[in-house]
């Protein structure tokens, strides 16, 4: 945000490394391809990207400071608003961190419900992603509307279970806030059973499309070692062929009980990133089928955990989960008071942008939009 406001609307010329005259384009913040309010200062040599500096903070509200002045419970609704497409995985990561911090056990049924809701969230995220990236490539409308139509079905399930469609506020320390309403599991089973047909349709719409292939293949690829060095996790890392899935590695929750595969890409380009998400959705559906079939009875929350005046013991904890966008971590320090002394979110969207410049160098300006779309960011989480 260093450039004066009036200069943003004017093209500017800056000097390149070898004395070239480069055109500086301010892409965003109000641009449909930036998925929110995000700006990139792109220096162009002709049409080629020579430099790219992302500019953040338009949505910054200091989530961490707010959480440090709220009670542990009071932060849960705020975590909904980090990555507002995936509120339930945010809830889970935070609840997991607090459970580690205080040494809380979670009942089995609650673990199952967490897995079910988290995998449904992954479905939502990846489905919406497929729609958004098509929007980034200029195919406004169809794909996004089909994706949102299916997403609605899962949001209906969420509303039934948690009371809200997006800001679910569902998980609690030691379990989940409420049990499933009557008939919910059957409705969820029905949605899960019908989902593969939609995925087939969406794949048919997208994956063979010549325009999509031309726009995404060999675009934005980086080797897996570079991605790992840049802290990039989640589908992006796996698309480059690195088999690293926190669900498998940490086995948090009860994921070690479920059979699922970790899809891997070969090239790490934008096409692989799209494909990975399609394959992950299939695996999520497998987990969902198994979890919904074997959902055990029992309590959904550990009754020993206090709702009011919850105070974890002195100490610190870092916990992470495999969020739909990557590794989502929470770092908490407790000084024994009802408010966290330090509360930190490790936002995958934010850290995945570290290598945005590297991915875009030497590409055309139009590719920047596709690469940014393939990283799949949500500004609520980037800016916090």
């Amino acid at each position: 945000m260093s450039a004066p406001v009036d200069s943003l609307s004017q093209p500017r010329f800056v000097a390149g490394d070898n004395g070239d005259r480069l055109l500086q384009v301010s892409l965003g913040p109000q641009h449909p391809s930036t998925h929110g309010v995000f700006r990139m200062n792109v220096d162009l040599d002709g049409e080629t990207v020579v430099r790219l500096k992302p500019v953040f903070g338009y949505l910054h509200r200091n989530h961490e400071k707010i959480a440090e002045s709220a009670t542990y419970l009071g932060s849960i609704p705020y975590t909904d608003r980090l990555d507002y497409i995936c509120s339930l995985t945010n809830n889970w990561a935070y609840a997991l961190a607090v459970e580690k911090l205080a040494g809380i056990e979670v009942p089995e049924r609650a673990e199952y419900l967490r897995i079910i809701t988290a995998e449904l969230t992954r479905l939502i995220n990846h489905t919406a992603f497929a729609g958004f990236i098509l929007g980034d490539m200029g195919a406004w409308g169809s794909a996004l509307m089909y994706a949102f139509r299916e997403r609605e079905k899962i949001l209906d399930l969420f509303e039934d279970l948690t009371g809200a469609r997006m800001m679910c506020n569902y998980m609690r320390f030691g379990g989940c806030r409420c049990d499933t309403p009557e008939g919910w599991v059957d409705r969820a089973k029905k949605v899960v059973a019908e989902y593969p047909a939609f995925l087939d349709e969406l794949e048919q719409l997208l994956l063979g499309n010549e325009i999509l292939l031309a726009r995404t293949r060999d675009v934005g690829a980086l080797p897996a070692a570079t991605l790992l060095d840049g802290g990039i996790t989640g589908p992006l890392l796996r698309a480059a062929g690195c088999a690293y899935d926190v669900r498998k590695v940490d086995g948090y929750g009860l994921y070690s009980r479920f059979k699922f595969r970790v899809p891997l890409g070969g090239h790490g380009d934008c096409y692989d990133r799209i494909m990975i998400r399609f394959l992950e959705m299939r695996e999520s559906l497998a987990i969902l089928r198994e979890a919904l079939d074997t959902l055990p009875a029992g309590p959904v929350i550990n009754p020993k955990v206090k709702v009011r005046a919850f105070k974890p013991p002195v100490g610190e904890a870092y916990a992470r989960i495999e969020g739909p966008k990557g590794e989502l971590g929470f770092y908490l320090v407790s000084d024994g008071s009802p408010r966290p002394y330090r509360y930190r979110v490790r936002p995958p969207s934010f850290i995945n942008l570290t290598l945005l410049e590297d991915m875009c160098l030497g590409r055309d300006l139009a590719d920047v939009v596709v690469i940014l779309g393939s990283i799949d960011i949500v500004l609520g989480e980037v800016d916090r």
């Binding site: 400071k65 911090l101 002195v314 610190e316 320090v333 000084d335 934010f350």
Partner: protein, 249 residues
């Protein structure tokens, strides 16, 4: 699977003789003990942790800061068995969580502390070792004011460049520059009154009238709170918004 910081500590001592690592116990049930590094050899130690066979902590997952204006609090949270001389004044701390994707281990918690919270708030950058530190260090610099020496592009990242303070510090006081609105919260209301000298209905004894359900009940108070705002806005922008103009039937 969690690594053994005590074992790694010995390996660090053997490999980087200049390093003075200290083991900090985590008193909580999470059991994530941490290694405190001195700043001089920190980069070497991180390079060792990243590359040494058998360690290979190749993913710097999380890097963040913590503000400890009172060192006593820091010691209650992390109690070292070999107690280093506690800094007399407070300090800032940078905490890193490292993972090994090859050996599927982690988190290894490594921390560094600054000498103080003012001029001495300097730490070596980790960006040459771990690229993922780049934005996270900028964030710590932005919100905590830790200067990372050698960082390629140390600018504010979330706050705007002209901002001066460090909002995540414990003693940060938010600037009192909000646009006040009629609110049911008396704390905010009191501050609003300080700003705009609202002619409130003080009682005969001079004590301020209780801020009753403002807004809904009290049209006058609402108007009183808004009018200075409007004047201010009108002064700033020559054309008042249409909603404020006189509507002639």
């Amino acid at each position: 699977m969690n690594p053994e910081p005590a074992v790694i500590l010995e390996q660090i001592r053997a490999a980087v003789p200049a390093a003075r690592p200290v083991l900090l116990r985590n008193p909580g049930p999470a059991g994530q003990d941490s290694i405190l590094l001195d700043t001089a050899s920190a980069q070497d130690v991180f390079r060792f942790l990243k590359t040494a066979p058998g360690l290979e902590f190749d993913l710097l997952s999380n890097l963040t800061g913590t503000d400890w204006p009172e060192p006593a609090t820091a010691h209650s949270v992390g109690v070292p068995p070999e107690i280093p001389p506690p800094p007399a004044q407070g300090f800032l701390e940078v905490v890193c969580h490292l993972y090994s994707t090859l050996r599927r281990e982690g988190p290894l918690v490594v921390r560094m502390r600054t000498a103080d919270r003012a001029e001495g708030a300097h730490l070596p950058t980790l960006t040459p070792v771990y690229r993922s530190a780049e934005f996270q260090e900028r964030e710590v610099f932005d919100l905590f004011g830790v200067v990372f020496e050698g960082h390629p592009d140390l600018r504010r990242i979330l706050m705007w460049d002209e901002f001066h303070d460090f909002p995540m510090r414990r003693d940060y006081v938010a600037p009192d520059d909000y646009e006040y609105e009629p609110t049911p919260h008396e704390a905010v209301w009191e501050r609003a009154k300080e700003h705009y000298a609202v002619p409130d209905g003080t009682s005969e004894t001079g004590a301020p009238a209780p801020p009753q359900s403002l807004g809904l009940a009290d049209e006058a108070a609402c108007e009183a709170a808004c009018s200075p705002l409007r004047e201010e806005r009108d002064r700033l922008s020559p054309n008042p918004p249409a909603s404020d103009r006189e509507v002639t039937p």
